[in-house]
Amino acid sequence: MKNNNNESTPYANDDFKVKVGLAEMLKGGTIMDVTNAEQAKIAEDAGACAVMALERIPSDIRRDGGVARMSDPDMIQQIKDTVSIPVMAKCRIGHFAEAQIIQALEVDFIDESEVLTPADEANHIYKHDFKVPFVCGATNLGEALRRIGEGAAMIRTKGEAGSGNIVEAVRHMRALQNEMQRLTTLGREQLMSVAKDMGAPYDLVCYVAEHGELPVPNFSAGGIATPADAALVRQLGAQAVFVGSGIFKSEDPAARAVAIVKATTHFDDATVLLEVSRGLQPGMKGLEMSEIPEEERLAARGW
């Protein structure tokens, strides 16, 4: 097998391309949080392009408190055995041992996630060391490029997980898009200064300035509760959506899951959006951001 691996720019090598390749295949789709095999089956039947296996969905983690860790491997295994679509699982920020265990389980994607309690306050995982691709959250361009620099093959702009409130997802998607747009207007001589201010790898800053987009797919996660929410973040530039508490905390998970899948596909067709928004049972109640104390906000975790 030919391998164009080059240590100095690991994101140009074949291993990294194969990781980004899977992220490309998930575009235009809906990735759903599931806590058991039964929910995973509902998600797959509704048209989810992948499932995220986790022990407690974010709104329950928020309610219960305590330390949130990687899920029980047996639970992840049961979900893997039930569905044919890719299965993702979360590890704590910086917890590379959890990531090693999840990789040994042959999960298809690892989410180094702020929804779990961070294990390292200074360092994220060096993700190029892994064969399984990683997705990481970001609230702005600098954070996204740092994660890509460490080897993330997909970025998800962070909303506030478990809130049922789309406002943070919109804030961060707009921030990222605006910063990328701004970079395309700058001269070559300004980019090193941008890299310094953002704390982002210089070569990745140059890539964004040239292409106007990230070198890996960019999805949206956190706070998506309705078909309209999915359509909103898609129109703002999200290439796919993650839905957590929004589905299995609603009163009609199966119907809502199908509606969100269709809204993600037909995100710019208001006729379809109207049709799929009709007849749904009430969604999750949701939280106003002022109800969530600053220190309990998940999107602020990681840097």
Partner: protein
């Protein structure tokens, strides 16, 4: 005659195909409703999740529409698209279109940790193609009238039947446009016949 290629845009890597086609100076349009096929002279079914694409195809009436479109127009199926073009699939969660006589096996090479790149031997070009296989499907029970267009380690990875082509790797993830170009040249041949 100019070709307008429809790219099925229900889920998956459809934008990458638009990019490959635009590199070749070929016009394309995203297809999300069966009626949109009318403006097209060829169709690409991209990679993505075959269960998701199959379900959305059923919901929006794509099965009869693509089957009748394929009688007169070329179809290129990649990865999930290959699975959908088969006569038969090893998994009941996916309903095939039955456009080429073979059986598709989902995730033939295993999960993502077993995804890989390899230089694939093409039967129509002397230079190999540096191909990405992402949770790729396998081609089995190939009918003798189906043409083998590429192989890798004795596995058939690309096939042709008349105007249709199906492949298990991803030509849209490379800057190399030879595979799209080859399919388009076959499209033009059928258009002039």
């Amino acid at each position: 005659m100019t070709i307008t290629v429809g790219v099925l845009a229900l889920q998956g890597a459809y934008q990458k195909h638009v990019k490959s086609l635009s590199r070749l100076g070929v016009e394309s349009r995203l297809i999300r409703k069966p009626g949109e096929l009318q403006a097209c002279s060829a169709l690409i079914i991209p990679g993505g999740e075959s269960t998701t694409i199959s379900l959305l195809m059923q919901e929006y009436g794509f099965y009869p529409a693509i089957k009748s479109f394929a009688e007169n127009h070329p179809v290129l199926g990649v990865c999930a698209g290959l699975i959908l073009m088969a006569d038969e699939v090893d998994d009941k969660r996916v309903t095939p279109l039955k456009l080429i006589a073979f059986k598709a096996r989902r995730n033939f090479y295993g999960r993502q940790v077993h995804s890989f790149t390899a230089d694939v031997t093409l039967n129509f070009d002397h230079r190999p193609f540096h191909a990405q296989f992402i949770r790729a499907p396998g081609i089995e029970e190939l009918s003798p009238e189906v043409e083998v267009l590429a192989s890798h380690n004795d596995e058939v990875v690309m096939i042709g039947a008349g105007k249709h082509i199906a492949l298990s790797f991803h030509p849209e993830l490379n800057d190399d446009t030879r595979i799209h170009n080859y399919w388009l040249s076959r499209c033009k041949q059928t258009a002039s016949n």
